[in-house]
Symmetry: C3
Subunit: 345 residues, 3 copies
C-alpha cells in the first residue's frame, strides 16, 4: 500500500517521496517496506537511525526522519489506524462449522461464523458478522451483538447480554454463578445467583478473565471498557464506559467503578465501594475504601534488597510504638524548653 | 408460589396477607411479585420504601415493612432457601450427548448427564445425577460422586477423587502436575508428580481456578470448602472443612489450612505453613509464616493519593535509619536530664 | 525394579541389600516397596523411622537409614531421575483422533498424537512424538517442536513458534493479541498486535497461564523457562533461559528478564523494565524499576494481627510527617547542646 494512500485514509500529511509499505515495524527493526512511528521523544535516536520506509511523527519531528514522513497530531493513534490498514484481519467464513453443536431454537444470523466444536444452546441469538472461534460455548438465552468476536474457548453462561464489536479472548468466562453464600452454623449455603451479565459495545475482555453474573440484577460492563487477562469481576460490579483494567486485577462484588478510569495490573478492590470517574490506580494498589474524587491513587512497597526489606519490615511492625516514642521525646523537650510554636497547640 | 407455602418450607412465620411470589429481588428494585429480604440495618430505608410483595426480616423489623413479612432468625439464610424454591435449577437430561467422546471402560450412572463434546477417558466412574456441561474433560481413573455438577470446560486430570454435590465452574483445572523441579546445574529437572487430588463433598471451585495434584500423596480439599475464581492451590496443600477463599488468592505447596477459615481476595501464602482453624485473612494479606492461633490477620498498605504515597514510601525505605535516629535522640535527652522511668530500663 | 538397577541408571551407589521397588513415597509414608529420599537435614527423624525399602541420601547420612541406601551427591535430583524410572509416562497412541478437526494443509508427523476434539488450523506444523491432549486448539501458522506435550484445552494462537519438549498445561493461552490501545478522545482504539510468541526448548507453562504475542516483534520465552499456573506474560516480554516463575505473577509488556532468575508467587512487574540475570524476587514483590544487578529483592508487609496492622498502617500514612518531627527534634536538641558529630553535617 502506498504511503500516500495511507496518509489519506488516516488523515495524515505525507512529506517526502511516496513509498510502498507492506507492514508495520519498530523504529529500530524496520526495513524499507516497513511503516514505523515515534510517540515519545526518548526514541529520537531510533528515529534518526531508522531504516523504515516511512514513519508517523508529529510536525515538530518531521524534519528529523531519514525517510518519508506521515505527519499526524497523535502519532500513536495514527499508527493504530495505519496498522489496521496494513494488517487487515481476514474475516472467518460465514456459516456454522459442521462439528458445532447448535440447538434448533438458536437464531444465528446468516453472516455469522460459528467455528468448529462450538456449542450453542437454546434460544441464543447471534447477530450479523459475529465470529466465534473454535470451542466457544454460548449457553441458554444469551445474545451477542453484531460484529463481536470470541477468539476461542470462551464460555458465556445463561442469559448474558453482549453488545456489538465485543472482543472476548480465549478462556474468558462470562456470567458464572458468583460467590454468594449464607452461613448455616459452620456450613455455607449457596445463594442462587439469579441475575445476569450485561456487556456494552466495543468492550474487550482478556484471556482467562472471569465476569460473574449478578446475584440479583446485573453485573454491568459499559461501552468501551477494556479488560486484560486473568482479571476477576465479582457479581453486581458495574464498570463505567472506557475504563481500562490491566491484568491480574480483581474487583469484589457490588463495587461500582466510574468512567474513564485506569486500573493498573494486580490491583485488588474490596466489595461495595464507589470509585469516581477519572480515578487512576497504580499497579498492585489495595483499594479498601471508596474514592469519590478523581485522582491518582497508589499503595504498596516497591521491591528493595532483601536485607534492607527485612530491617524495614521489622520497624514497620513497631511503627505505632515508634510514633509514641517520638511524641514522648517531643513532650520531654517541651517541658525542658517550651517553644512559641508549641503554645499554639 | 404462595408466601405461606414458602414460609412453611423455609420454617419462617408469615405476618400479613398471603401473596403470590414469582422471583427474588433487591429491596429497592422489587415489584409486587418479588420476594426480598433485609439482612443488615443499614438497608432500613429501603425496607420502608420497598414495593416487594413480601420481605424476609427478623422479628424486630417485622412491623416496619409495608408488605407481607416472613419472619426468620437469619433472614439471609432463609432468603437462600427461598431463592432455591423460587428459582429451581432445571436438571440436565440424563444420558450421554452423542458428540461426547467416552471410553468404553468408563462407568457412567444412567441418571448422569454428559454434555456435548465432553471427553471421558478410561476407567472413569461417574455417579448418579452428575451433570457435566459442555466440553468437560475427565481423564483416566478419576471418579465423581453423586449430584456433582461441572458447569463447562472443566478439566479433571488423572486419578482425581471428587466427592458428592461438588460444583466446578468453567475453566477449573483439577489435578494438574504441580510445579516441582530439582536443579541440575542451571537446568531444572521435573519431579514426576505421582500423587492426586481428593475433593470432599459439597465443595465448590470457581472459574479458571487451578488445583495441583500431590507430588507424592494427596492435595486435599475437605468437605464444604468454597473457592472463588482464579485461585491457585499448590501440590500437597490441605484445606480444612468449610474454609472459604475469595478470588485471586494463591496457596503454595504443602501448606495446611484449618477448618472454618476465611481467606479474602488476592491473599498469597508461602509453602509448608500451618494455618490454624478459625483464622481469617483480610484481602491481599501476605502470609509468610504459620499462624497457629485463631484470629484476624492482615497486611498491605491501603491506597492513598499518589503524592502522599511517594513520600511515605521514600520514608519506609529509611525506616530502620529513622528508628536509630529516634534512639539516638532518646539517649541524648537522657544524658541531659535522666528520668525516673529511664532508670528502670 | 531392583534398587541396584535404579542405582546404575541414576549413577548412585547402592549400600545394603538389593530390594525390589515399585514406587516413590514420602519418608514418613513409605512402605517396603517404596523408594524415598532425604534432601534436607530437618527430615532426619523421618529418615530414622522410615519403613521405605530404600532411600536416596548423601554419603554423610548413609549410615543413618534403617534400610537400603542409594548414595547420591544431590539426593533430590537423583530422586527426580529415579521417579521417572519408577513412574514412566505412558505415551499417547500415535495418530489423529477421528473427532479432531484438522485442516488439510496441516503437517502432522506420523508419530504425533492428536487427541479427541482438537482443532488444528491451516499450515500448522506438528513435530515427531508431539502429544496434544483433548480439546487443544492450534491456530493458523503455528509450529510445535518434537516431543512437546500439551495436556488439554490449550489454545495456541496464530503463528506461534514452540520448541521441543515443551509442556503446556490445561487452559494455557499462548499468543493472545495483547493489551495495546491508543486513546482517541475518551475512546480506546486497539493497536493491531502483529507480532508472535516464540517459545524455546524444555519450557513449561502452567494451567490457565497466558502469554501474549508481540505487538510488533516477538514475545520470547527462552530455553528451560518454567512458569507456574495463572501467570500473565505481556506482549514483547523476554524471559531468559532457565528462569522460573511461581503462580499468580504478572509481567507487563516489554519487560526483559535475565537468565537463571527465580520469581516467587504473586510478583508483579511494571512494563519496560530490565531485570539482570540471577535476580531473585520473593513472593508478592512489587517490581516498579529495573534491577541491573544480581541479588535477592523483596517487598510487601507480612500479615500480622489485624489490630496491630490497623495501628501501624495509620502511622504509615503519617510517615513523612513523623520523619519531619524527628528532624525537628534533632534540630531543637542540637540548638540546646551542639554535638561534635553535628558540626560535621
Amino acid at each position: 500500500m502506498l504511503a500516500s494512500k495511507i496518509a489519506t485514509l488516516i488523515q495524515a500529511r505525507l512529506i517526502g517521496s511516496d513509498v510502498s509499505l507492506t507492514h508495520v515495524a519498530a523504529l529500530d527493526q524496520a526495513d524499507a517496506d516497513g511503516l514505523s512511528f515515534m510517540a515519545a521523544n526518548k526514541y529520537i535516536d531510533d528515529l534518526h537511525s531508522t531504516r523504515a520506509g516511512a514513519v508517523i511523527v508529529t510536525v515538530e519531528h518531521a524534519s528529523e526522519a531519514p525517510c518519508a514522513v506521515l505527519v499526524a497530531e497523535n502519532p500513536y493513534l495514527a499508527f493504530a489506524h495505519a496498522a489496521r490498514l496494513l494488517h487487515p484481519r481476514r474475516p472467518a467464513p460465514a456459516g456454522v462449522h459442521p462439528s458445532a453443536v447448535v440447538d434448533a431454537s438458536a437464531q444465528i444470523d446468516a453472516s455469522a461464523s460459528i467455528g468448529p466444536l462450538c456449542v450453542i444452546e437454546e434460544n441464543v441469538r447471534i447477530g450479523p458478522r459475529v465470529e466465534l472461534g473454535p470451542e466457544c460455548i454460548i449457553r441458554t438465552g444469551s445474545s451477542i451483538g453484531a460484529d463481536s468476536r470470541f477468539v476461542a474457548q470462551v464460555t458465556v453462561c445463561e442469559d448474558s447480554l453482549i453488545g456489538e464489536r465485543v472482543l472476548l479472548h480465549p478462556g474468558a468466562v462470562i456470567g458464572r454463578e458468583g460467590f454468594g453464600f449464607a452461613k448455616d452454623g459452620e456450613r455455607w449455603v449457596r445463594i442462587p445467583q439469579v441475575g445476569r451479565v450485561r456487556i456494552g459495545n466495543d468492550v474487550e475482555i482478556g484471556a482467562n478473565s472471569t465476569v460473574d453474573r449478578g446475584a440479583i440484577g446485573e453485573t454491568v460492563i459499559d461501552d468501551g471498557v477494556k479488560i486484560d487477562n486473568l482479571v476477576q469481576i465479582g457479581h453486581n460490579v458495574a464498570i463505567g464506559a472506557n475504563t481500562a483494567m490491566a491484568a491480574c486485577s480483581g474487583i469484589s462484588g457490588s463495587t461500582r467503578i466510574g468512567r474513564n478510569c485506569t486500573i493498573a495490573g494486580a490491583v485488588g478492590m474490596a466489595g461495595h465501594l464507589h470509585i469516581s470517574d477519572d480515578v487512576h490506580f497504580t499497579g498492585m494498589a489495595m483499594v479498601t475504601r471508596s474514592f469519590p474524587k478523581p485522582g491518582v491513587y497508589s499503595s504498596g512497597i516497591p521491591a528493595m534488597p532483601n536485607s534492607d526489606w527485612r530491617r524495614n519490615v521489622a520497624r514497620f511492625r513497631q511503627l505505632d510504638e515508634l510514633t509514641r516514642r517520638i511524641k514522648c521525646l517531643e513532650q520531654r523537650l517541651e517541658r525542658q524548653s517550651p517553644t512559641s510554636e508549641s503554645t499554639n497547640e
